[in-house]
C-alpha cells in the first residue's frame, strides 16, 4: 500500500529521502570520477573541466536558465513514458512521436503563418499532440489486442519517423539556403520567452503537466483504475475496468505529450524544423522516466541532473575542445552507475539502511 501520511509530517519518510539523495549524490560522484579518468587519459584536466562546468551551469543566472531550457524537452518526454508506464506499457517510441509532433506543428506554422500568435500557437500545439497521439495509436492498439508487443512496434516506428520528417524537409519545406532545414518560423509561430532568457512557455507547461499527472494519478477515478491495471491487469479486467481502452488511451496520451515536446522544440528552442534534430531526446526521456520510477518529483530531479550535465558539456566543447557528443559518455556513466545500483559501504549509506 502507498504511504498516505503527508511526507512533511513523517520523519521516517524524510530519513528515506535524505538517504536516497545521499545515495544518488555518491553515484553521480562515482560517475564523475570515471569520466574524469577518461578525460585525464585523453589529455585534458578533469578538475578544471568540472569547475568550468559547475561555474557555467549553476554559478550564473544565464547558465542556470540554459539548464532549465535543456530540461524542458526531457520533462515532457519523460512524462510521455511515465504515464503509459503506470500500466506497465513500455513506450520506447517517444523519439518517433516527438518527430511526428514536430512535423505536424511545422506544417501548421508554415501553412497558417498569417494567423496571429494566439491562434497559431494553440493550433501548432494541437496538431503536434494529434500527430504524436496517432503515432502511438498503432502500437497501443496492437498491444491492447494482444497482437504485437509495444516495445517492438514503437522501436520500429522510431526509425520511420525521422525519415518522414526528412521527406517533408528535403522535398517541400527546405529554405532557399539550406536543404536540411526549413526557413525560420514567423514570430507568431514562436513560443514566448521569459526574463530575457531562452526559457519559453513550454517549460511552464511541462511543470504544470507534471503537477497534473501527479494529481491525476492520485486523486481521480481514472488514476485509481490505472493503478489497478498496473497492479494486476487480470484482476482489473474481472472488476469491469475496460483494460484495453485504457491501454490505447494511455499510449495515445503519452504520444500526445511527446508530440507536444516536438512542437516545443521547433516552436521554442529551434524556431525551425531541422532534419534529425533530436539525437536521442526521446530515449533520454525513457531513461529519466525509468530511473525515477515514473514519479513526478523524481522526473524533475533526474531531468535537472541530466540537463546540468548536457549544458555543462556544451561549455566543455569550447573550453576543452571536447566534441559535444562526448558529454553523452558522462551521462551514460551516470546512468550505468544508477542502473547497476552500485552499493556503497555502510558508513556512506548512513544508519537507516
Amino acid at each position: 500500500m502507498r504511504e498516505t501520511t503527508p511526507f512533511f509530517r513523517s520523519a521516517r519518510l524524510w530519513q528515506k529521502w535524505i538517504d536516497s539523495v545521499a545515495r544518488y549524490t555518491l553515484m553521480i560522484l562515482l560517475a564523475l570520477a570515471l569520466f574524469g579518468l577518461i578525460l585525464l587519459l585523453s589529455g585534458r584536466n578533469p578538475l578544471l573541466s568540472y569547475r568550468d562546468m559547475l561555474k557555467f551551469t549553476l554559478g550564473s543566472a544565464y547558465g542556470f536558465s540554459e539548464v532549465l531550457v535543456a530540461m524542458t524537452p526531457m520533462l515532457l518526454t519523460a512524462l510521455a513514458v511515465a504515464l503509459p508506464s503506470r500500466l506497465i506499457l513500455i513506450n520506447v517510441g517517444v523519439e518517433g512521436q516527438l518527430y511526428i509532433g514536430a512535423c505536424c506543428a511545422t506544417w501548421a506554422a508554415l501553412t497558417f503563418s498569417h494567423l496571429p500568435a494566439y491562434l497559431l500557437l494553440p493550433l501548432m500545439a494541437l496538431l503536434g499532440m494529434l500527430g504524436g497521439a496517432l503515432w502511438a495509436l498503432v502500437p497501443g492498439y496492437l498491444k491492447a489486442r494482444g497482437i504485437v508487443n509495444e516495445t517492438i512496434t514503437t522501436l520500429l516506428l522510431n526509425s520511420v519517423a525521422p525519415k518522414i520528417v526528412s521527406f517533408f524537409i528535403f522535398g517541400f519545406w527546405h529554405s532557399p539556403v539550406d536543404t536540411d532545414k526549413t526557413a525560420n518560423f514567423v514570430p507568431a509561430a514562436r513560443l514566448p520567452t521569459f526574463f530575457g532568457t531562452r526559457i519559453d512557455l513550454s517549460f511552464w507547461i511541462a511543470l504544470a503537466l507534471l503537477g497534473v499527472f501527479w494529481w491525476f494519478m492520485k486523486f481521480t477515478r481514472w488514476g485509481l483504475e490505472m493503478r489497478a491495471i498496473g497492479g494486476n491487469p487480470q484482476a482489473a479486467r474481472r472488476n469491469g475496468i475496460p483494460v484495453g481502452s485504457y491501454l490505447v488511451a494511455a499510449m495515445c496520451v503519452g504520444g500526445a505529450i511527446a508530440g507536444l515536446a516536438g512542437m516545443a522544440q521547433v516552436s521554442g528552442y529551434y524556431g525551425l524544423l531541422l532534419a534529425n534534430f533530436s539525437r536521442g531526446i526521446g530515449y533520454m526521456g525513457f531513461l529519466i522516466s525509468w530511473l525515477s520510477f515514473g514519479d513526478p518529483l523524481g522526473i524533475l530531479l533526474m531531468s535537472f541532473v541530466v540537463a546540468v550535465i548536457f549544458t555543462g558539456g556544451n561549455l566543455l566543447q569550447l573550453t576543452q575542445a571536447l566534441p559535444f557528443a562526448a558529454i553523452n559518455l558522462l551521462l551514460a556513466l551516470t546512468l550505468f552507475v544508477v542502473l547497476a545500483r552500485v552499493r556503497f559501504p555502510a558508513f556512506a549509506r548512513g544508519k537507516a539502511s
Binding site: 516506428l157 526509425s159 530515449y283 566534441p323 562526448a326 559518455l329 550505468f336 542502473l339 547497476a340
Partner: protein, 306 residues
C-alpha cells in the same frame, strides 16, 4: 536502363547490407541467450571509430578489423556487467550503452575526422577475370563480404549443432531450467554477449574500414536499431537473418534503381519500406501466435534463492 547500372546497384546494395548482416547475427546470439541489446548503435559507433583509428595509425586494415571486433565484444561485456551481474533493466541499460557509444566514439574519432586510409583490399569474384574492366570493378569485394554468408552458417552451426549453442538457447528459454541441468546462466550470457559484440564489431569494421573508408560522427545512421528489428523479422534464426539483411539491401538497391531510371520518388520514403514490412510481418505472426521470441528474453536471472 543498362545492364551496367543494374549490376552497379546490386554491387552497392551488397556493400551496404554486409554490416547489417554481421550485426544482426551478433544480436541473434545475444537475444538467444535472453538479452536484448538496444545499445547496438553505440557498440557499432565505438567499434567503427576505434577500428578506423587503428587502421589510420598502423596502416594495416586487418589490425583495424581485429580491434573493431574486440572493442565490440568489450562494449557488450560492459552491458553484461550491468544487466547480468547487477541485474539492471535491459532496455534502459541498452539505451545508456547507446549514449555511451555516442560519447566514446566522438572522443576516439575526433582526431581522425577527414583522415584517409587504405581500406580492406578488394578481391575480384573468382571466374570473372575475363569480363571487361568496367564490369570487373563492380565485382571486387572485400574479405568481410565474402565471409558474411558463411558466418551466418557458422552461427547457425554454433547455435544448433554444438553443446555450447544448446546451452545458450536453453538459458534464453528458461534460465532456471538451464541452471538446474548444470549450466551457468551468467557465464553463458557473458559469452553470448562477447561473441555477439565481436560480430557487431566486424559489421562496424566493414562500415568504416571497407565501405565508407572514413569516420564521421553518427555514421552508423540507425543500423543498430535496424539490426534489432531484423532479429525479430528473422524470428531469432541466423539463416533467416540473411533474408532480413537482403530485404534491407534490396530496399537500398530498389531506391538506387528508381533514381537511375529517373523516377522521382523520395529516397526517405523508400527507406521506410523495410520497417513497414517488418511491422506487417509481425502483425501477421502475432495474429497466428507463432511468435518465436526466446521465452526469458529481457528477464534478469537472480539465481535460485530469489
Amino acid at each position: 536502363m543498362t545492364l551496367l547500372s543494374v549490376l552497379g546497384v546490386i554491387s552497392s546494395a551488397i556493400f551496404s547490407g554486409t554490416s547489417l548482416l554481421y550485426t544482426t547475427l551478433g544480436e541473434v546470439i545475444t537475444e538467444r541467450s535472453g538479452i536484448v541489446n538496444l545499445g547496438l548503435e553505440g557498440v557499432l559507433l565505438v567499434s567503427a571509430s576505434s577500428g578506423f583509428a587503428v587502421t589510420c595509425r598502423t596502416g594495416n586494415p586487418y589490425l583495424g578489423v581485429l580491434t573493431a571486433a574486440l572493442v565490440g565484444g568489450l562494449m557488450n561485456l560492459v552491458l553484461g556487467y550491468v544487466v547480468v551481474t547487477r541485474g539492471g533493466n535491459q532496455l534502459a541499460s541498452g539505451l545508456a550503452l547507446m549514449f555511451a557509444g555516442f560519447g566514446l566514439s566522438a572522443l576516439i574519432g575526433k582526431p581522425y575526422v577527414g583522415a584517409k586510409i587504405h581500406g580492406l583490399p578488394r578481391i575480384l569474384l573468382p571466374g570473372l577475370a575475363k569480363l571487361p574492366r568496367l564490369y570487373t570493378s563492380l565485382f571486387q569485394f572485400d574479405m568481410l563480404i565474402y565471409l558474411a554468408i558463411p558466418t551466418a552458417f557458422l552461427v547457425w552451426w554454433l547455435l544448433y549443432r554444438t553443446r555450447w549453442g544448446l546451452g545458450l538457447r536453453a538459458v534464453g528459454e528458461s534460465a532456471d531450467t538451464a541452471f538446474a541441468s548444470g549450466r551457468n546462466p551468467w557465464r553463458i550470457r557473458y559469452q553470448a554477449l562477447f561473441v555477439g559484440g565481436l560480430l557487431a564489431g566486424l559489421g562496424a569494421a566493414h562500415l568504416s574500414i571497407a565501405y565508407a573508408m572514413n569516420w564521421t560522427e553518427y555514421m552508423t545512421g540507425g543500423r543498430g536499431f535496424i539490426a534489432v528489428a531484423l532479429v525479430i523479422f528473422s524470428k531469432w534464426h541466423p539463416l533467416r537473418a540473411i533474408v532480413g539483411a537482403l530485404l534491407f539491401s534490396g530496399a537500398v538497391a530498389f531506391q538506387l534503381l528508381l533514381q537511375a531510371s529517373g523516377v522521382k520518388v523520395s529516397p526517405f520514403l523508400l527507406d521506410t519500406i523495410p520497417y513497414f514490412l517488418t511491422l506487417l510481418v509481425l502483425m501477421v505472426w502475432g495474429g497466428t501466435r507463432r511468435y518465436a521470441a526466446p521465452a526469458s528474453l529481457g528477464r534478469v536471472y537472480h539465481g535460485t534463492e530469489s
